[in-house]
């Protein structure tokens, strides 16, 4: 990318602000997800309310950043790397907001399970593991954005396969459980929803990473076969 500054220092400021707002939003989403996972594994139902409320902040940031993008396009008509950055950011915030929604879904799922008097801890290890992986993906995708590091973004994209595989194995485990003891069905389905939300977080992290590759290299690698996603620079 381009480190040289614009003739218009205001334009530089605006782009800089936009980037830091995205990182701020990303940080908030990360916190939401780890709080939701903690709520799950430690049974902290009290934090569910906080997570659900904080989701509104994530939504507000999405709207504010999109609005800034629209203003910047109208005022500055960005081109080349600037255009890719603004366009990419507008897409990244959509994925971040949806990842935030998934955190909220996890939190609500946790509340349902505990309110039904169940303890999900017997499946805790599998979920905890896949959630850690998804969280690392998101963190690295945001790092890749902050440093405009396409190679790291490609690593994130590749990691999504592992999360998907693990999700499938959790599904199989839970199906076995349900068949063995139908009384676990309600809880198992709630846990499946949670696992599904975690898996979706991985997908959103992957999308963010794909947008980063577009921002840095100008290549749109969405929907490409895996071998074509390698960084070319």
């Amino acid at each position: 990318m381009n480190e040289k500054s614009h003739l218009s220092s205001q334009f530089d400021d605006e782009l800089g602000r936009l980037r830091s707002h995205v990182l701020q939003m990303g940080g908030l989403v990360e916190t939401q997800i780890s709080a939701a996972i903690d709520a799950y594994s430690k049974g902290e139902v009290a934090s569910v309310k906080h997570i659900v409320e904080t989701d509104r902040k994530v939504n507000d940031l999405e709207i504010a950043i999109d609005d800034d993008c629209a203003h910047l396009i109208a005022k500055r008509q960005p081109a080349a790397s600037d255009l890719r950055l603004v366009f990419g950011i507008s897409k990244i915030v959509t994925d971040l907001e949806r990842a935030g929604d998934e955190a909220k879904k996890i939190a609500k799922g946790v509340r349902r399970i505990y309110e039904a008097g169940q303890m999900p801890s017997q499946y805790g290890i599998g979920i905890r593991h896949i959630a850690e992986a998804a969280l690392v993906m998101l963190r690295q995708a945001l790092d890749a954005f902050a440093r405009l590091d396409a190679a790291l973004a490609v690593k994130v994209i590749q990691a999504d396969v592992d999360v998907d595989t693990e999700f499938k194995s959790i599904m199989r485990q839970l199906i076995t459980h349900m068949m063995e003891d139908p009384r676990t069905i309600t809880t198992s389905i709630d846990i499946i929803w949670i696992a599904r939300a975690v898996e979706r977080i991985g997908d959103h992290a992957k999308n963010v990473a794909e947008h980063v590759v577009f921002i840095v290299e100008g290549r749109d690698i969405r929907h490409l076969p895996k071998e074509n996603k390698e960084s070319k620079e």
């Binding site: 381009n2 003739l7 008509q77 081109a79 080349a80 790397s81 255009l83 890719r84 100008g218």
Partner: protein
Amino acid sequence: MSNHETPVLKAEARGLNFYYGEAQALKNINMPIYDKKVTALIGPSGCGKSTYLRSFNRMHDLYPGNRYEGEIRFFPDNTNLLGSDVDPIEVRMRVGMVFQKPNPFPKTIFENVAYGLRVRGENNKRVLEDKVEHALKSAAIWEEVKNRLQDQAPNLSGGQQQRLCIARALATDPELLLFDEPTSALDPIATGAIEELVHELKKRVTILIVTHNMQQAARVSDYTAYMFLGEMIEFGKTDQIFIKPQDKRTEDYITGRMG
């Protein structure tokens, strides 16, 4: 947006150098101009884009001390436009030019457009009337002037004058039209009309346009060339140049990081 047809060459600069006396203004330019496409030349002031544009209709011949090296091949006949055996008048019949400021002759609207045809020796009134009407229609100004063809051209508005100049250039059925910042003296509405016209014209004629307005280059052209200090830095599809230029210098220029 993308079209996959293979473009046909209309002209090609090969190893083109140009000197204003001792000063070299163009340095080894190699660049294709594709048939019935719009090619935009962008670059900071003094980069040689107007010099390059003017080479196509031998405008530099008018001043002593100017010197070309290399060639500009013109197709399909593969003529070297810069060849010493090629008559500049003939070149200008095939390569029309529209300038930055509208420059109608101090004559009637009709005579402005008929001028090139008369120079060519056309005196048949019917033919002249037909060709003038056709040119004015092609330049999207017919409806505005059809009832006052005998009015003085300089009385038209700036935007109309510029379209009249385009009609004048079109009257001789050129194969290539050169535009040297055709809208820099016009308001946004008149600019929009010219840009729309460029889009219409490329169905029939190849267009090479110099513009300082980068957004205009992005809007009207199929190909864009970035020039800097007399060199062709980058040539490519306009979509490519404005989304992912290959050269850092192009990137710096179009993102406003020059200086």
